[in-house]
Subunit: 208 residues, 4 copies
């Protein structure tokens, strides 16, 4: 709706940004920040090097915008899944696990980028780049924790562990299974394994 209202110039600009992002995502996720040059991105995006600098102040800004965009998209999906109130707490968490799998498995190159940023490899890039994403990630964990907390309050779950740690646990478990899937999709099907894992998880914390 709104986009159609945008002047052609503006629309074209956004499209160009998208093309740059697409090229950059491919390259960064495959080779890492320091092994990709601005020339490489320019060539892959079919723009002149100068054009990249019209859109982004420098390499770091491009990288940050890219990662932020991916993270926003990703967290948006996760938040949508977990906010879906058409279900109880168990359902909301199952929703999140499924959505996480879907987003990642459809955007494999995003995975590496995302893990690099949330799992400490981002120190490869200048300090401070990652704080926003860390914040977004932290916020999401808090929301996940609040779902567990709500479940505990409703006496649907035992309070074995601090809800925040339950959130951390389920997040790290899903990550682990996504990594396995990434390494060998046929051998390690995410949905099946995660399903079993979830069952075990809830059986454990469920109140009978």
């Amino acid at each position: 709706m709104e986009e159609k209202r945008l002047p052609r110039r503006e629309r074209e600009k956004i499209a160009r940004r998208g093309e740059i992002f697409a090229a950059a995502l491919d390259l960064f996720s495959e080779k890492g920040y320091h092994n990709v040059s601005m020339h490489e991105i320019a060539e892959k995006a079919e723009f002149a090097i100068g054009t990249l600098y019209k859109f982004f102040e420098n390499k770091e800004a491009l990288y940050k915008a890219l990662v932020m965009g991916q993270a926003l998209k990703f967290h948006d999906e996760l938040n949508k899944a977990i906010d879906d109130i058409c279900g109880d707490e168990v359902q909301r968490i199952r929703n999140y696990v499924r959505a996480k799998g879907e987003v990642f498995m459809q955007n494999t190159s995003m995975i590496r980028l995302y893990f690099a940023e949330t799992r400490g490899a981002s120190f490869n890039i200048k300090a401070g780049l990652d704080t926003e994403i860390q914040k977004m990630y932290e916020d999401f964990l808090q929301k996940l924790a609040s779902v567990f907390e709500s479940g505990i309050k409703k006496k649907r779950f035992q309070k074995i562990l601090d809800p925040y740690y339950l959130a951390v646990a389920i997040d790290s478990l899903t990550n682990a299974f996504l990594f396995l899937w990434l390494g060998n999709p046929e051998k390690h099907p995410y949905s099946e394994n995660v399903d079993i894992m979830m069952k075990m998880f809830f059986e454990n914390i469920a109140l009978r």
Copy 2:
């Protein structure tokens, strides 16, 4: 004992290697491979740049030797802990979880390096550098899995999930709690949290 038998020259050489490693570990773990220059390492280690190249063929070789050394030290401890037969399967896994915490919490800068290498950020460095460590990691996971398998055979654990996935799960959970501890040691004490988590884990898979 044996070390004292080494000729002085040899001992000094090893000591120097150690000093280089110490400087490199600090810098790499803080800033990442590509943001540390050989000059920086030389300066921190108080050697001339040429001396570094007497000890290591090039930057990559230095990095690889450093990471391999850390990984060996780390896996050595883990293997010792898990191989300890003075206990049943539960005890062996508890041992591993505790040992992992101890090694990491005493070598915080090793953590970042280690996660960078096992969790995919190593693509920042030339391909192939990480295969040996990946292999070591994989071998350890197999051993962990075999402990679970043995517990299942002895009917101590239910077979809810493939033993390999149990290994992956417990490894990823301990990692997650180590990360939390790393970010805020006081707020997130590893041992306590992991203890609760372990209890929950074993209650779940234990056969009554």
Copy 3:
């Protein structure tokens, strides 16, 4: 004619290449490959160091392109002179001797470069750089030999020596006189001396 048709960009690029070549020729011929740094060439050519690497992949490639260019130019002249069919065999060889002198005496710095490459000093640079030039030189010697052979067949020359050796002989004699001229142009005028030498040469092999 044709050059004017080239787009400005293209012409400028060629001009810049030429400026780099000119600076490099001066420096290499004066100091030798290993005593000239890329920075030196860049400074002399009034370009930034990076610009050199836009034009040539590396130092060796620049050197090779320079030497090949000079060699092509040189052999082109020699071949034109010797292929000139407006004369008998004696005339064609006289043409070659004169042309060789002209090219060299107008491009003194080319001489050192050329002799370094055809006379074995090229082992200073990585192996294989010189094979193309050696081939070009060898081909020329063969052509020179074929002129002698033709003269022998036409019974204009005696067959004292294998035509190839006659070619080698006349080539080495002209080189020697060019060297003398290079050391002291006034004292050792190439044309005069070579004329006498030629006379002596042909008197000797001529059939009366």
Copy 4:
């Protein structure tokens, strides 16, 4: 005789110098001055690097001493051959040509070194290194010239060309044939070819 009188220390020192020279000659003649490192020479000569610097002030001094030694040995032989008064002028020059071939063909690695120094490749090394050898070479050419001059005075040779140029000519011709021999000894036997060439040379300048 005299050598036996030298104290052991002195004799050993000379022997060591010889070993260094032998290693250096092999390496320099094969790879060129700039592609041979002092470490390489030390290793091949089985000395410590420091020892080399006890014998020679620096790399250049070692190279210069080596080349001078070779040149002295070479010119000594040539001078002996040409000074042999048991023959007329033709015989003395024949002697020189034969001796030159013998010395070179028994010391092939000397050839490259020698040509590098007399034929301009020495500009690869710092200026001034070569002047002494150039002088020695020049002196020899003068002596060769004087033999021709003497032959002309005795009316054995015609005066076609300045005796100095005759000397230059015969020297360059022998060099050329030595080069051919070096490239393919079986295909281009020096003695045979040079014999024919000499015959032709003297028939030409001989007075009947």
